[in-house]
Amino acid sequence: MTSTAPLLQARKLSVSIGGNPVCRDFDLTLQAGERLAILGRNGAGKSTLLSVLAGLRMPQAGEVRIEGATYDALGPRASACIRGWLPQARSDAFASTVLETALVGRHPHLARWDWESDKDADIARQALAAVGLADFEQRDVHTLSGGERQRLGLATLLTQAPRLFLLDEPIAHLDLNHQIAMLELLAGAARDCGAGMALVLHEPGLARRFCDRALLIHGDGRTEVGPVREMLTAERLSALYQHPLQLVESDGLVSFIPR
């Protein structure tokens, strides 16, 4: 691991799911502090590509490196100190409190016989406060709403404190106010802690506002990467979603309206 190695690097990646190609010979480099939005139609393979980047799934060809090393070389524990992953859906088989759920993020930082210390609990409480769940500590996760559970997932990730965030639909199920709050929280983590992140998003306007670059996945193996202003245009997005979209601008903020 050298300090010059990029946070995330994918080389000559070929991924397909259920016989459909997601990407071919795909190269991607993500530096610390950078935010990448991943957009595409349903089933285009956004989540599949993200799980390959997270080391959860093997690509058909090519390799993924984080901070210069492959997941295999690092092993799961060292990998978990570098990259965190937010799943799109989660199911809780057993009852557990909100604080306990956030605290599992400390696992990679603890030695085998360590118990979570007060310091770990403080880190988890800060994360819960950051996502607006400070008063929920002792609630059972089964009693949370979809949006609250989603914010708890983000709190667990903040407790894990990785340098690379791979987020599968981080603002799904969230109210508009929480969507903006979450994206600002993540933007803050990128700016202040130098975290790099890749986010699967469905809202191109928010992607353009909160990300530096965008990756468009067309679902037939074609991918495009570039700065958000070049990628997230009415023309490109209309082709991506195969539906005419119109760009509307107000006070410097951009939104795309389906025709």
């Binding site: 990998s79 992953w85 989660r90 088989a93 306990e100 599992v104 993020g105 603890l110």
Partner: protein, 329 residues
Amino acid sequence: MPTRRRALLIIAALAGLALLSLALALMVGSIPVGPAEVFLTLFNDGGGMAGDVVRSLRLPRALAGFACGGLLALAGALLQVLLRNPLADPYVLGISGGAGVGAMLAILFGLGAAGINGFAFAGALAAMLVVFGLAHGDGSWTQTRLLLTGVIVAAGCGAAVALLLSIAPEHKLRGMLFWLMGDLSQADDPKLALGVLAAVLLISLPYARELNLLARGADTAQTLGVAVGRLRRGVYIVASIATAAAVTHAGSIGFIGLIVPHLVRLATGNDQRLLLPASVLAGGSLLVIADTLARSVVAPQQLPVGVLTALIGVPVFLFLLTRDPQVRR
């Protein structure tokens, strides 16, 4: 999540309960022995008739019961995490079914206790290997595939047991049925079961926090630093060996492997660092108490201990479930 201090206190309390249950098992029976006498006979060879009864009959049976109860509860707790299914118990993956077929065959062939144990253990291992091999076939090894394979193998074994029961001669039926319902009267040497119990607990405990993560989902566990594939295989093998050892010694005693982990979970939460040792102590105690009642309530008749574990466990479980405002607020 309990603090380490609270966890140790709970374990100490349960260890006290375990000792009480063992003491009860040594005192109660056709020849009642007082607490002081029990204490003396354990550390001296004398004590006459009562001493012999305590040392050579009640003590081995109580220790074997404790070991089997602990093994079943531990296996149940591990499999509930592995399958992420609160309904999983040590028998869900067909291990007891395989042991049952082996034991029925041994009884049919007229083998003695050692033969029955050997056949039962071989049957359990065979079922474990079949389920493992089939579920592992395409490398995906999902919980659903493992669960389905296990349930199907268990169903097949159940049919084989029914077949053997239906062709068995009348005078062997009672022994076969008692074995199937769970029976500690043949368990005369607890050393092996206690050894297996200590070994599987010591192997599992270092991985307890990783098991907490596995209970939250394989992908989540993997991204938080758990080597999921290796951990799952290990849990499967450890739980299988624990089940096989218990079933071999005591037959298919139902209920403990399903209910005890839930009892402990309801009372203390789902942290495997506490849940695994607490389940061992609670499961062992429950089986010792149930077996003491099974051999004394309608003495000289002996009841199948599996009936007693259920009769004790069901009301306790229902009480905890309804009482529980704290966990599901």
